[in-house]
Symmetry: C2
Subunit: 405 residues, 2 copies
Amino acid sequence: MLNVKTPEEVLAIIEREFCPLPGRTELTALDEALGRVLAEDIIGEEYVPDFHRSTVDGYALRAEDSFGCSESVPAILPCTGEVLMGEAADFTLDRGCCCAVPTGGALPRGADCVVMLEYAEDYGDGTIGICKSAAPGQNLIFRGDDVCPGKVLLEKGRTLNSRDIGALAAMGRVRVPVVKKLRVALISTGDELVPPEEKPGSGQVRDVNGPMLSSLLRGFGAEPIYYGIVKDEEEKLRAAVEHALENCDVVLLSGGSSVGAKDAACRVIGSLGELLLHGIAIKPGKPTILGKAGVKPLVGLPGHPVAAWFVTELFVLPLLSRLMGRERESYSLSARLTESVSANHGRAQYQGLRLERREGELWARPMRSKSGLISSLAGAEGFFCIDRDCEGLPEGAEIRVTIGE
Amino acid sequence: MLNVKTPEEVLAIIEREFCPLPGRTELTALDEALGRVLAEDIIGEEYVPDFHRSTVDGYALRAEDSFGCSESVPAILPCTGEVLMGEAADFTLDRGCCCAVPTGGALPRGADCVVMLEYAEDYGDGTIGICKSAAPGQNLIFRGDDVCPGKVLLEKGRTLNSRDIGALAAMGRVRVPVVKKLRVALISTGDELVPPEEKPGSGQVRDVNGPMLSSLLRGFGAEPIYYGIVKDEEEKLRAAVEHALENCDVVLLSGGSSVGAKDAACRVIGSLGELLLHGIAIKPGKPTILGKAGVKPLVGLPGHPVAAWFVTELFVLPLLSRLMGRERESYSLSARLTESVSANHGRAQYQGLRLERREGELWARPMRSKSGLISSLAGAEGFFCIDRDCEGLPEGAEIRVTIGE
């Protein structure tokens, strides 16, 4: 008997039964860090920039020496130096003097602002006329404005994007502490399956879940290990799962959609570990099994590709996030349905959709087809859910769209 | 003089001046195809599945033989066979008979529906009692329901996701025609720059744009080629750009933020190709140059990392999409501002933000800091834009949030 859980219950079981795996930190090169998960907070260790820095081309001076000046009555200051780009400004600016600085150049000691070239006139005799008064701090970045020692810049659990990589480069963090990728075993079961490169005979179909879930996992940042197609025989299945358990952090088996095979997957998972749930109240995706062997999850996915995709997206990725200590927020878009959709089977119903724009508004066209057809997901831009209590949604109804991995 | 264009004008220039590069199709293995751009429509070449397929465990029969039956008056049919999973059903079912089929199994000729096990009783004498009448087509997928010859499954220009990979696997398309990755040269210029792994001396800063834009481009699906840091000297810059032009499809140079260096970048781009624009009315990012040498774009990006990031995200990625014939839709989320933001400089203002949830609603906290600080983007989940005509937005105002690459 299936002891069917709601999606919320399944996520709670994942949260309760699994925790971030210890000892998973590794250092990666900065140019390999995109999409990886930070294993530690990134904390400033030095000042960036390490000097007061001009944000314009102009003249550095003491702000007070410009007070009260104007275009008609400029402040006339001797120009006692020039800072070159990329060089230290290792001198003190005397009161009543100024010095030329380029954008990004360092300020000499004593200077506390920069007046833009546009508001200064070079008289050619070693003096500069300043035509606009400046406030202290104007047109400069202070030492440590960007990063200073002790400041937390990026938090543990964050998935690094290109902007974060920029911040790490600015701090000189060229070796980044990230969470090791999880090795996720994929085993496809089913006597009817042939590899995608083969032409199926009558009664046979190609294994879709292997390549599809591999790419879903790879895009998420895991390392999929494909163990190929195993025949629907309990002993072969057990041997394959045992082997995968030794070499991987997580084992996903998909398929075994006939009654006997379903029971076999359940018995194998139950015999190698603890059975946590059997059945989720979603459509498609009901015949899902979750167990654990030690700290390692064992997941029995439905054989139908569409169901396997949804269960992986909705439950396996959160499970992997949990094991990695990854903070993962998924945002949804708002759109309107182009047509009505029915649903009344006591399960949350997930459906692929295509998005289109009508006068700037986003509309969602649900992909319709019989259950289990991969073409009901191919070409989809995202998906939506109809709650289990809902009997359907009318045309024009507002829905929340998830783009998904 | 900067001939400043609005963002819309810049996108129109890109559309007008550049077009998809010819002869860029290559075949890639299915497990390398995630995130790649389809170079051709994917059209069905065979029937998937190639046989009528049961979606349940049960008995295949002619629907008419079940008409009028019920639990109290079952239709009693001889069971004349059993289809095994993965095997052909190479026989014709006689009228008034049934045969056992597993989920996913093939139907024999003549059968046009499947009755679930739950509605059948095996009398043990070679006959089966069917307790529920079935309609033709019930519980089965017809041959070609998923894919049939001539059906367009995925369109040229589409970026492949894991669901699309599944469809390709189902069709046996293990070699996928995709658009070759664009080789994008990155040249950082600036006398003040040192590589990220070096400790900057006084007046120096680390090159942020090299690693940051590399990862932005890689995440987008291009192949960044980093040419390192070039000093602000026109002849060195020209030599570097010429060399990059020979080896790459696109050249991005970032930096040269002092007046002389800016002019040098402009002269180099102008001398090696045609100058298309100089200056975009956005903040940050105004000092941007776009040119083309033959069909190859040359882009002069601002030196400030935040400005360089926005210009790459907002204009360079659309430019690369244009060259690849990539259809790229970016969706935005709706959120409310946690605090007011001012803007009144006649340019569209882009700003990073962090997202937080308050009672299920999405709120955006703008990252505040002086222009040019990378920490104003690090840790940001996305960004928003304040239009050039807008003088600012109050707390609580609804904004459109882009997550970005």
